[in-house]
Every structure is written in structure tokens, then in C-alpha cells.
């Protein structure tokens, strides 16, 4: 390894930070939850999750949290995902495909506009965890 200059140090920091930022538990602008119950997985939620991850990586943004959760109860419309922008009500998307996922990510998560044609509705169940 070559000797670092102060600029190199900053570059390493930026690069490494992107990878580890997730651990900091800070505030996120957007949270994407892929529902991965048995039903979801059977309907192809894994593909959806991967598609979101690819998008996230390409976007290089660090303020988006991608997570998974269990079955949302609407097993017939899986795969499903919930997108929640901070300060706004969560939106549930149903019958997702990889193509749809990309669109939702670009338009809603990045752009801030709800993609109404894939959305189920607003709101989320109350949880008591």
C-alpha cells in the first residue's frame, strides 16, 4: 500500500463510510420494506429485494434504508413492498416485478412522487412489537 496523503485519508473515509453508515442508526430520508413472509418469498420477493439493492447501490445514496419484514397479510398480492418517506405516510405497492421495482425506486424513493398505478393504498398496520 502506498503512503497516504490527507486527501487519500478523506477518500478512504468516504468510501468506507458508505458501507458502514448503516450501523450508525441515524435518520433516514426514506425507508423501503420488502415483505418477506413465506408467501412473499414464494411469490418472488427475493428478486424484488435484489432489485432494490441494485438500485440502491447504483444511486450511491446513503440516506435510504432498505429492510425486510414479515408477511403483510395480503398474501395473494405478493410480492409487496412499503415505501416510507420521512414525514409522509407509508405507501404499499403490490404485485411487484423487477421492472416495477425500478420505476418505484426512481420515481418515488428518489423523486418523491408516489407511483399510483402500482400502489395498494396509504397507511400501515399498527404494530405492538
Amino acid at each position: 500500500m502506498a503512503k497516504l496523503t490527507i486527501d487519500d485519508l478523506k477518500k478512504i473515509k468516504e468510501k468506507a463510510k458508505r458501507r458502514t453508515e448503516l450501523r450508525e442508526g441515524g435518520d433516514y430520508r426514506a425507508k423501503v420494506t420488502v415483505h418477506m413472509g413465506t408467501c412473499g418469498i414464494a411469490a418472488g420477493a427475493r428478486k424484488i429485494m435484489n432489485a432494490f439493492m441494485d438500485e440502491l447501490e447504483q444511486s450511491k445514496s446513503s440516506d435510504i434504508l432498505l429492510t425486510n419484514s414479515g408477511c403483510a397479510g395480503l398474501c395473494s398480492r405478493e410480492p409487496m413492498a412499503t415505501v416510507e418517506l420521512s414525514g409522509q405516510a407509508p405507501i404499499k405497492y403490490i404485485d411487484l416485478t423487477e421492472q416495477k421495482t425500478k420505476e418505484i425506486f426512481q420515481k418515488h424513493v428518489i423523486g418523491g412522487n408516489v407511483v399510483k398505478k402500482y400502489a395498494l393504498g396509504k397507511g400501515s398496520e399498527k404494530t405492538d412489537a
Partner: protein
């Protein structure tokens, strides 16, 4: 590894790989996790990271899931498949593996909601559980080496010293000498054309203390960065880390960290292009407690017999090979980068008037949550014991807390609202020490505690000066006979005289402070000594030779139906009776081993 570094992951599983968790099979957990993740095809989504000590050692092996800060504890390999499928695949956190405080019904899923973590303020342990200590990039990601960059390029040595001085940071190894002032002395003492040295004292030897080990294991770069900044401030070009060889994990992580830092040019010639040269060498100590004393430590580094010499001259004047040397403790060094990064003002806002910042304690003994905690100075003992520590197990009463290791003293329950700082601890006869905190409940015999600590210092005394070598031995002999019921009335006075004289006339800190456990127990628990001597009884029933064992015949017969277990286990044949009859202890034969008391499942054996 490179691939892992480049990729982004959805989940980071922070597996604690501190010594305590490692000994609880955390590497087994890590392997099981990786195996299971591969099985579920999650290897591109979930990353397993080994971190340094998380602190909540009581509950190891530990796993923190990020993002979300979900805290899993006391994991076993068999739990892993279920955990991976439920949480990491299906997103349903597993409640039964979460921490449930005693007396409470539901578990607490989030780490930061757990009382143990809630009241802690992390400065020295700022990276704990968040980085892999073996990856320098992860340290850099969390502002690592940015303080060094600042110190090397934007600050004059004098400014660095002033910043540390203004921060109010004091030596965390026990003495509490203002760090900045020490640096100033070293930087001003003449070298006669020779070098100045930086030394990191990692010879942690107090029984039950593991602060330094934890820092070295969890965040070795923090210590290295602090040392380089210190070197710049005092104008040193060579540093030594003295770490005991009983800490193999700390040594191996330190070696790795030094290699990485050298690889990045953060050690060696022309650091970060600033023209400043500095390098660090590891010296492994052979485990003598006295080598934690700075003059003995230096002798050991020089390859001589590890025994202290009189001060003055202080190391700042004549240290290693008679050159000015700056010795600070691991924790002190780990604080330095934060002070430089976040300013002296910020740091000095934490803590009390005379004691600034935070202190790491290892909380052990009769307490629910044993582990490593970092708390702001000025926090009360009550907050540590009741809130962070979760109180005393089994509903017992809190009796005393011993701080400062074998050099410290016992603080009685009545002082539980004592705010913790250097001065207040000294005032009650104890000391900050390196941060050991042993909690004792009502079942603890204070004479026995004093005897334990004196036996430790007696074994660890280097033997150079008379009061420490002979005095600790004499004190041990007296305490030993008191616990055996052979104490004489004049023994208390003799003990007190001895303790005071040793404190006055011993050569080094080890001897000066060795009588503290005796002095404080005599001060706060004199009645216990008197009962031992006059009534030949131990109120806590710890000193077995003073106990009398009897069997409550009614309980034995009615509840236990004369189970005969005690008689079978009695090696002295001192119990009479047979199955379904009440048993008796034959006092003349009883050797007071206490086995009957331990084995009786019906509490029929009574001890007086």
C-alpha cells in the same frame, strides 16, 4: 475481503469478538451465522462483522443487528438457523433471543433502550460494536485518523498540549495526573541530543479489571492515533506499547493494527506528508502486576528487572534510558483523538469540576449486569449499580463496592450517592484506580475481602522495599488468623498501625495503596473485625472456620424426609442419621467445610 469491502449490504451483523464473548463461543456463532446465511442465499445481502467488546459481557455471546440496533444475547449455535430465517430473511425479529431484564416480563429489542447502555457515554469506547477492529478502513470511516491529520497539519505542538490541558483530561491509569501538564513537562525537559519516548501502559493487572484489554481489542487504532498525536506534541519519534502477554487477542489485534497503520504511512517516516516521523513497538510484559507501575514498566522495557525506583526523577525528566518519557494509560491515549477532533471545550463540558470526560469501569461482582461501562465523571454509584448494573441479584442487599482494584478501598452502602470523580473517591479512602468496580452484597465478609486483596498485593509485591514486602505479608498473616478465629484484640490496632506505616513509607504506588482495602474496611466495617475477634463468628458466614453448622431436625424430617444427602457427602463422617430420620451434625467431628450446607436442597442445614 476486498469484495466484501466494495459491496453494499442490507444487513450488518455485529458479532462481539471481545475476549469474554470469544470464550463463550462467539466465533462458533459467527461461523454458524455465515453457514446459515449461505444456505439461505443471503450472502450478498447480509454481512457478518466481528467487533471488539460490546461491554455487556454478562450476556455473551452477543449480536447486534444493524440497521435497527437489535440486540441479541446469550446465543447458542442451535438458535442460529431459526434466527437467520426469521429475522434476516423474513424480517421478524426473534424475541426469545433478546435481553429481558430481571423482574420484567417483555424483552427489550433495541440496544439503546436497554438500561445498561442507556446511561453510558462513549468516548474511549466510541467505536465499540460498530467497527471491525481488524479493518483500518472502518476506523477511518468513523473519523479515525482525522484528529491526527488535524494535529499534524493544522496545529503546533504547543497548541496540541494546550488543547489537552484545557480539556481537563487526567490519567486514566489510576493516578489522575493531568495529561496535558505531563505532556508539557516532557516537552520541556532537556534531552541532551537524545530522543523522547512515548509509552502506552497496557499492563492492566487489577483482579476483575479489563478496560484496557477491551479498548486494545476493540479499537487498537484509537490508541495508536492518540500516541502519534502525543508524539507530535512532545517531539518523540519512538513509542512503546507495553501490553501483557496474557492478552493474546489484544496483542494480535495491535500487531495487525500497527501493520495496517504502517502500510498507510500513518506510522513511519513522513506521516501524511507532514515530515513527522514516528513508530511504535510492542513490548510484551510477563505478567508482573508491579510492572504497571511506571518506573518498573520502564525497567522492564529496558530489559531490566521489573522493580520500581524512587521518584523523582519522574519519567518526564528521566524515563526510558534516562531520556524524557511520556507514559499514559491505554484509556488516556484513546481519549486523545476525540479531544483534538471535538475540541477541549466540548470535552470539558462532560464531567465534574475537577474530573472531566468519561471513565470506563469494569463492573463485576454481585451485580446483575456485569460488563464494561463508560460513564461520565460525576455519575453516582447508585446510577451505576442500580440503573446500569441492574441491581444486586437474588434480591440481596447491597453492602459495599470496591473500586480501584487492590489499591482501592471499599465504599460502604451509605455512600451510594457518591458522585464518582478522582477527589470524592480519594476522600472516602478509595481511589479511581484503573477502573475496577467490584460490587458486594450482604453475603460478603469484609475481613475476607481485605484478606483477598492483601493476598493479591502480597503475591505481586516486587519485594524491593521492606514495608511492601514484609508489611503486606504481616498484614496477611494477621487477617488470616482473624478469619480463622485466632485473632487477638490488639490485632486491630496493629493492623491499623501497619497499614498507616506502609502507606507512609512504601516506595511506590503499589505499596502506598496496598493497605487501602484494610484501612477502608477497618473504617467502615470495624464491627465485623470485632465480631470475628471477640465472638469468633463471621456474620456473613464466609469464614468457614468460624461457622457452626447445625441441622434443623424438623425441616430435615418434614420437608426433606431425611434425604441423607448431607451424610453421604460429609467427608468427615460428622453427620449422623439415616434415610427418613432427622440428621444431626456431630460438632466434635465437623471440619466446617460447608458441604452439607451447599448440598442440602431443603435449607435444613443452618449456619451460625
Amino acid at each position: 475481503m476486498e469484495k466484501a469491502n466494495e459491496k453494499a449490504y442490507r444487513l450488518h451483523l455485529m458479532v462481539c469478538a471481545g475476549t469474554a464473548c470469544v470464550s463463550n463461543n462467539s466465533f462458533g456463532i459467527k461461523d454458524a451465522l455465515e453457514k446459515e446465511i449461505n444456505k439461505q442465499g443471503l450472502e450478498d445481502e447480509v454481512l457478518v462483522v466481528t467487533t471488539g467488546c460490546n461491554g455487556f459481557c454478562e450476556r455473551g455471546p452477543l449480536l447486534v443487528v444493524q440497521p435497527g440496533n437489535v440486540f441479541y444475547q446469550q446465543l447458542e449455535e442451535k438458535d442460529i438457523p431459526h434466527l437467520v430465517e426469521e429475522h434476516f430473511l423474513k424480517g421478524r425479529p426473534v424475541k426469545k433471543l433478546m435481553y429481558k431484564p430481571p423482574k420484567e416480563k417483555s424483552p427489550i429489542p433495541i440496544l439503546s433502550d436497554i438500561n445498561f447502555f442507556k446511561k453510558q457515554v462513549l468516548i474511549a469506547l466510541r467505536n465499540r460494536g460498530l467497527i471491525d477492529p481488524e479493518k483500518i478502513d472502518e476506523y477511518i470511516a468513523r473519523d479515525g485518523y482525522s484528529a491526527l491529520a488535524k494535529a499534524l497539519t493544522e496545529m503546533e505542538p504547543k497548541q496540541i498540549i494546550n488543547e489537552v490541558k484545557d480539556s481537563g483530561l487526567r490519567g486514566r491509569g489510576g493516578g489522575g495526573f493531568p495529561t496535558g501538564l505531563k505532556w508539557e513537562f516532557v516537552s520541556k525537559s532537556s534531552t541532551n541530543g537524545q530522543e523522547r519516548y512515548i509509552v502506552c501502559n497496557g499492563d492492566e493487572g487489577d483482579p476483575g479489571a479489563f478496560m484496557d484489554r477491551s479498548i486494545l481489542e476493540a479499537d487498537p487504532h484509537a490508541v495508536i492515533e492518540g500516541m502519534i498525536i502525543g508524539a507530535k506534541a512532545i517531539g518523540a519519534s519512538k513509542g512503546f506499547v507495553y501490553v501483557r502477554n496474557e492478552y493474546p487477542l489484544a496483542v494480535s489485534r495491535l500487531i495487525k493494527a500497527l501493520e495496517q497503520a504502517r502500510g498507510y504511512g500513518l506510522l513511519g517516516k513522513d506521516i501524511l506528508g507532514s515530515g513527522f516521523d514516528f513508530d511504535i513497538k510492542i513490548v510484551r510484559g510477563a505478567g508482573a502486576f508491579v510492572c504497571g507501575e511506571e518506573t518498573a514498566l520502564m525497567a522492564s522495557i529496558e530489559g531490566r528487572l521489573g522493580e520500581p525506583r524512587p521518584r523523582p526523577p519522574y519519567p518526564a525528566e528521566k524515563g526510558l534510558w534516562d531520556n524524557p518519557t511520556c507514559i499514559n494509560n491505554v484509556e488516556t491515549w484513546a481519549n486523545v483523538p476525540v479531544i483534538i477532533n471535538r475540541s477541549a471545550d466540548w470535552y470539558s463540558n462532560i464531567g465534574t469540576k475537577t474530573s472531566k470526560g468519561t471513565k470506563v469501569f469494569s463492573l463485576v461482582g454481585k451485580i446483575n449486569n456485569t460488563g464494561l461501562v463508560e460513564v461520565p465523571m460525576g455519575i453516582t454509584l447508585r446510577e451505576i449499580i442500580e440503573d446500569i448494573g441492574g441491581g444486586i441479584p437474588d434480591g440481596k442487599k447491597f453492602k459495599a463496592v470496591q473500586t480501584g482494584g487492590p489499591s482501592g478501598g471499599c465504599i460502604p452502602a451509605k455512600n451510594i450517592d457518591l458522585p464518582i470523580d478522582y477527589e470524592s473517591l480519594t476522600e472516602v479512602g478509595s481511589m479511581m484506580g484503573s477502573g475496577g468496580m467490584v460490587v458486594m452484597d450482604e453475603d460478603t465478609c469484609m475481613v475476607d475481602v481485605a484478606k483477598y486483596f492483601i493476598s493479591f498485593t502480597q503475591n505481586e509485591s516486587c519485594g524491593k522495599c521492606t514495608p511492601c514486602r514484609e508489611g503486606t505479608k504481616a498484614m496477611y498473616e494477621i487477617l488470616d488468623r482473624i478469619t480463622k478465629g485466632e485473632g487477638k484484640e490488639e490485632d486491630i490496632d496493629l493492623l491499623e498501625d501497619l497499614a498507616k506505616s506502609i502507606k507512609d513509607s512504601a516506595l511506590c504506588g503499589l505499596g502506598n495503596t496496598a493497605p487501602n482495602p484494610v484501612l477502608t474496611t477497618l473504617k467502615y466495617f470495624k464491627d465485623e473485625y470485632e465480631i470475628h475477634i471477640k465472638e469468633k463468628k463471621c456474620p456473613a458466614h464466609v469464614c468457614r472456620e468460624l461457622n457452626t453448622y447445625t441441622i434443623d431436625e424438623k425441616t430435615c424430617l418434614d420437608v426433606g424426609h431425611g434425604c441423607d444427602l448431607c451424610r453421604k457427602n460429609c467427608s468427615a463422617n460428622a453427620i449422623s442419621g439415616e434415610t427418613k430420620t432427622a440428621h444431626q451434625v456431630i460438632q466434635e467431628k465437623c471440619i466446617k467445610c460447608g458441604v452439607c450446607y451447599d448440598v442440602c436442597r431443603f435449607d435444613a442445614v443452618k449456619v451460625k
